[in-house]
Amino acid sequence: MNRIFNWFRLRRLEGDLNRELQYHIDRRVSDLIRSGLPEPEARRRAALELGGVTQVREEVRDMWLTRWLRDFVYDLRFSARSFLRSPSFTATAVLSLALGIGATTAIYSLVDQVVLRALPVDHPERLVLIDWNGEQLAETLGSDNLMSYPICQDLQQQKQFFDGVLCRAATTINLSTAGDPKPAAAELVSGTYFPVLGVSPALGRLLTIDDDQAPGSSPVVVLSYDFWKNQFGSAQDIVGRKVLVNRYPMTVVGVAAPAFHGIDVGEVPSLWIPAVMSAQAIPGFQTMLDRRTRWVQILGRLKQNVSLAQARTGLQPWFKAMLDEDARRTKVSRVSAERRRQFLASTLRLTAAPQGHSILRHDLSRPLWVLFVATVVLLALACLNVAGLFWARGSARHREISTRLALGASGGRVGRQLLADSVFLAVAGGLLGVVMAPITVRALIAFLPRNIAANDLQANIDTRLLLFAFLVSLAIGFLAGAAPALQACRESLVSSLRERAGTAFGGLSLRRTIVTAQIAFTLILVIAAGLFVRTLSGLLVRGPGFDTSSLISFGIRPTANGYSPADATQLIRRIHDEIRSSTSTQSSAVANFPLLLGGAWSNPLTIQSTERLITDRDVHLNAVTPGFFATLGTRIVRGRDFDERDSLPVNEGGQRVAIVNEAFVKRYFGGRNPLGAHVGMGTGPNVKPDAEIIGVVEDISYRSIRERWEQAYFPIGAQYSGSIFYVRLRGTPESAFAAMRAILRNADPTLPIAYFRTLDEQVNRTLNTERMLAALSSSFGTLALLLSLVGLYGVMSFVVTQRTREIGIRLAMGATRLSTVWLILSDALVMIAGGIAIALPCVWALGRLVESQLYGVKPTDPVTILSATLVLCSTALGAALIPARRASAVNPTHALRFE
């Protein structure tokens, strides 16, 4: 250890040694002069006695640094020189390692950021997500793990289990700071949010329980550090400034700590608003205190000595009592007996949530793990490849090594040289991998969904992992380098020197094993690539069920800009009229809920035909204007579309009508004619199924391309509103975009556009994950194929070289060229078959991991497996054919004359 520290204080040590030696010489010289010698002679004598100052210095230096370490530097230099002499070998090995290390670290750093990393708050390990397991009988606003706000208030009283309980809901608001309002990502939070997480302010104050009093009582906001920096130029006088949230004035009271980006890595809020201001932040939302409206995620901080299981058990009595009480309340008591039973059977679910809550995590953790496993396989492949290459090189250098040993080099000395080679390669590959990894992560992040709330993913690489991958490659290098070294030391010198150049020691069976493993790994990756590509192409071919070309969509939210519902309807009608009369419009319609954005408006329905029937699961609902299906190009297979009369109130001559899709008819009417039957929203006994089914349409995708769910449509008008526009354009989208924007600006210049995109783009966005999986697994598969082909080629060339003499004899004895080719190919075939035999059970076992990511194919899809196997076999045989042809070209006379 001392010796390693000596590296760093070399300069001081040198200085000391010089002084020490100088002292010695000076003393000796003066002693000699005193004994009568003339000075020049004395100096000569003193230096002579010491045996040369330089030599002493050199020997002392060896004491400091150990010879080993110093020689190792020379070894590395030698390695570098010898690698530069064989650039193709070096490039293959270094690139293999770099790819393996780069890809593994890149994917893992995403896994880490999305799935594993804990929040930058106090003791994140004590955070738990509290969730309802069962039927909540509640209106839903949001996506996952939702509860009502009053439950959060109840939980805050459970002080024996929690240090604190917070709730939060992500939303998008229209924020105006100085000029026109812009959409901004906000988190509605309870006053306990910051205290429970233990976040401190960078400026001013954060929200407290005093901001939790009554609805509308606390019109304040806290800004995120980044938003404050980017939007307000880090203005020091920010505290006290007024901003408009959906046109409602609120005061900035503080800025959160720089490192804190909310609790969702996929959706970073720009500002935090007290939950009591939800009516202002979410237009039309008035049911914050309703127990039957679920819209917040609840997280609690467990007390120091309370375990998750203890809290779960301990909360059960309170939860049961709440269920019983809720069941007595009017709204719940009206539901069907079945759903009521499900409601009462609900339990409370507590899960550790040190990473906070994230929908992105929910959606991406599986695909990311799949990719991570793939990269680990790739890294293993790369290492095997390097090992194989080393082996080949070790064989080629056999004579060199024997010569060095014969000249008196010790076995350790030669082994060290081979180790230096491995280290050199691992370092080079590792460094290249380090350079590649951040670029790869950046490319990967581009695949991920992006909304107004930016995700918090960064291209930073986890240093621990980089180190790990690096060490793995180093270890592989060591092992691969050590084996030939050991071999060289063990063998008898004389016999190996006597051998002809070109032949070498054994280890062939190990190389065969390596190649077999490589082929197995490769086949797994190629099959995975095949499955994901088929999934993506299947989804692309399937499409959303309607024609997306020259179809655009955009949304506005007038109620978020201070419009009353009646004024908003007027505005939308005016805008829609203008769009319809625009020359760029072919047809257009308005909907209540946007398609292909991942969400849906859903509710169970009561159906009244010959009998009364309640749907056994939620139906996806939408409200649309007449012409919606025509605009999308969805065929009406039965009955008719809505018309203007359907949107009138019932007392003005209108009637309640609905249109359902084919999946709905199939599930609830068994394919019988549904026209004339009635449906009603909800499940209770006093739900009036009064909307007549007047039409049946084809199935289209709503939440995602994968899904064709039961759908029902109602007309926009008296009952339902909508502000999502769908426009089929004439001409190119570019020119039409400008026209549409002009219309919107004309109608109200301060109205922000929530989103504006073509449906093609929308479809692409929903397939981001599938595209990522397909693109990455294909490139992994190709790389793997390349790596193992190099491995196979190397081994086969080696075999041919080794068997040249045998082949020569065979040819001389009358064997045909073709049988020689077969001799070599059959050797390769054994390895290929072995690899396939290993890979197929693995594919079967790994199938479950990828099953949920696939669409339209099973993980054991025979066509995919067969074609992947064929691709592998044909390319592998191709790689083996080159050395085999060389074998057949052996000239028997030459081969035998070698002896």
């Binding site: 000391d16 002292y23 010695h24 003393r27 010491l50 045996g51 040369g52 002493v56 020997e59 002392v60």
Partner: protein, 113 residues
């Protein structure tokens, strides 16, 4: 430098250095002189091997070194024995005694015949 002087047996230089330093701390030149005086110029110490040996013993932790004023007034590097150096000296002295004893026995037997 007469050729009648023995080259110092291999491996004994460390022991001799430890022994000399067990009496009092000394600098390199002092140790060289002391070696020459004590052995009455019978043993020839290659001064060139003295310094590598000193640094090796220092690396092993048997010696520690300080820059102090020497008898001539100049700063010199003085070596002294550490606790583990003293222990090492005892060990080496023991094994030397055993070795010489054994060698003596063999010689005695040879002369008895």
């Amino acid at each position: 430098m007469s050729s009648s002087r023995f080259p110092i047996p291999q491996g004994t230089l460390d022991m001799l250095i430890l022994q000399i330093l067990s009496l009092e701390p000394a600098h390199g030149y002092g140790i060289a002189q002391r070696l020459e005086q004590i052995s009455k110029s019978v043993v020839q110490v290659n001064q060139g091997s003295l310094y590598p040996a000193l640094h090796r013993l220092e690396q092993k932790g048997w010696l520690k070194a300080d820059w102090k004023q020497s008898e001539t007034g100049r700063e010199a590097k003085f070596y002294s024995l550490t606790r583990s150096g003293q222990k090492q000296l005892r060990v080496e002295r023991d094994s030397w005694a055993r070795l010489t004893g054994a060698v003596q026995l063999i010689f005695d037997e040879g002369s008895a015949q």
